[in-house]
């Protein structure tokens, strides 16, 4: 399946939101999540849903305003000026590839922990990270992996007597 912004939104999002179309994505995701939250929320008894539903309707309106303020038009600009002038934190954003890569590495580590447990996942992750991302020499990567595993073991297992998670593969629950 060809997942391009055009295939998702029909009309080119650039035409609606201008060059900063990607900045409108979070508001759209929030809008979709809030709709899902409302659908689920209405299944609960009146007292249980009263507060969450009220909040969700407010968020729906705010997310709608957020999207409207990002539309490349005089109304969008006016809304943005009134409600959300920006005030950038001036972060260096980095390439999209670097962003996706960093997120995938974290998700991969969490999955490794879940599957193999702390004592296997930590050295594997640190070694792979130092070697593949940091391009460090083999020996340094091995030392780094061993040292970080030792730190984790000493801190949590030896000092705090916390039984480290063994991983779903090795019988961890």
């Amino acid at each position: 399946m060809n997942l391009t912004p055009k295939s998702i939104f029909g009309e080119s999002p650039k035409r609606i939101f201008g060059e900063g179309w990607i900045d409108a994505l979070p508001a759209m995701v929030i809008l979709a999540l809030t709709v899902a939250f409302l659908i689920v929320g209405y299944r609960y008894p009146p007292l249980a849903r009263q507060f969450p539903i009220t909040v969700a309707w407010v968020i729906l309106a705010l997310a709608g305003l957020d999207i409207a303020s990002r539309i490349d038009s005089p109304i969008g600009a006016a809304l943005k000026d009134r409600l959300d002038r920006g005030g950038s934190v001036a972060e260096k954003i980095g390439s999209r590839r670097a962003q996706v890569g960093a997120v995938v590495w974290l998700a991969g580590f969490a999955v490794l922990l879940w599957l193999f447990g702390v004592l296997y996942a930590v050295p594997l992750y640190v070694f792979a990270s130092l070697r593949l991302r940091g391009h460090r020499p083999w020996l340094r990567c091995l030392l780094g992996a061993a040292a970080s595993t030792a730190i984790v073991w000493l801190l949590f297992s030896a000092a705090l007597r916390i039984e480290l998670y063994r991983g779903i593969i090795f019988g961890g629950a």
Partner: protein, 481 residues
Amino acid sequence: MFVGLFFGAIPGLGGATALALLIPLTYGLDAFTALALAGGVMGGVPMGGSITAILLNAPGTAPSAATCLDGHPMARQGKAGLAIGAAASANAIGGIIGTISVLAILPIAKELVLLFGPPELFLLAVVGLVVVATASRGRMLRSLIAGGLGLMMSFVGYNDLTAVQRFTLGIPYLWDGVRVVPALIGLFAVAEMINLSVRGGAICDDPKTVQINSMMNGLLETFRHWRTVVRGSLIGTVVGAIPGVGGTVASFLSYSMAMQASKDPDSFGKGNIDGVIAPEAAINAKDCSCLIPTLAFGIPSGAEMAVFLGILILHGLQPGPLMLIDHQVEIYGLIWALTASCVLASFVGLLFVRPLAMLTLLDSQILVPIVTAVALVGSYAIDRSIENVLLTAFFGILGYAMIRFEYPRLSMVVALVLGSTAERNFHQTMMMGDGNPFIFFNRTVCRVLIVLLIVLLVSPWLRGFAGNRRARILATQGSSR
């Protein structure tokens, strides 16, 4: 104190774990010594939490997350020494002011705490949310949305009022709701590590700018910003004394109030020293005052105080109004141990500024995997739950997305903490008033809080109106010349 400092510095552990591990050690001690030992541990935790919050953006404890917001940007600008120096002195002064306030309040503590019922607690939660939303000038819409998302997440789990499991997606782990500490580790520590690995380099943007020796200036800065210290300490004392509210609210509320009061609010989040001093003063002041509901009513303000209750009961001390009268020696011993530990922990923290600040020069390729590993394992260690790790990773990614798209994480955290409190107290209020919302106007503290709420909501508009008027006058004067 050293135990507290150590536990405070490790993300996910904090005072509750330290105290829990301490319980067996207090078996052979008399009540006075056991309470003094507990006070020593509790006093050391905030400083430990602040050090990692400033250097690594990894709050050791939940309240320290507020220190991340400006402490870490300062570290990135090479001002780690200045930030830690300011945090240490704000910690110590906050602790002392908190102690003085508690000693003054103690004789009337019972009457004060009883002033806060469900209507007041609901309004207090709303005030907390509004303070944060209105403080994010220029990003108010996104701040409100982030706060709303935090509220929506706070509704996840078992609702004790209606006995309904809500929004759990069939996942048993979520029956207890979204756990705040793993979420905070994700939103701050892990998100920062993702950000750092995307940016590359070291925590400090320019290694040449590192000023490790500036911690003495940090100490002096706290005295120069004495208003922030006093305001933060008083907020910490008041919020800490309210049962069930906790230190996270105190620190974030203090931060937001400092931002509201600042002449340069736009510099908050970019390394404003007031953003370090305000939460630090509140955290330690709160540590003293949260003893009041714990001792006087047996109502803990958080996990740390809940474990502390266990120590009290273990040593035959039954919390309740009578305890304030019957066990004064132990209580005063505890308060002084807590204060001495706060001050001592600040000095010890300062001794280690130099080696710790060098962490900001470490290459991200080395730092990121190690800190991520410790953060995720620390999250697991909170209650030995692998689901905590997955939650932390989720919030790490969410936190990074919030950094990337400039949605304030502050609002989300405060809403996440206050959401369930607000809902529970709202429903209880409605029950008290038979569904009549006018119950809010019949109570003195409620009326004060409503006025405060109106002031908070109106003041940004008035300030904006005044600013525009000033700009128009200046423009007219400029054109007439």
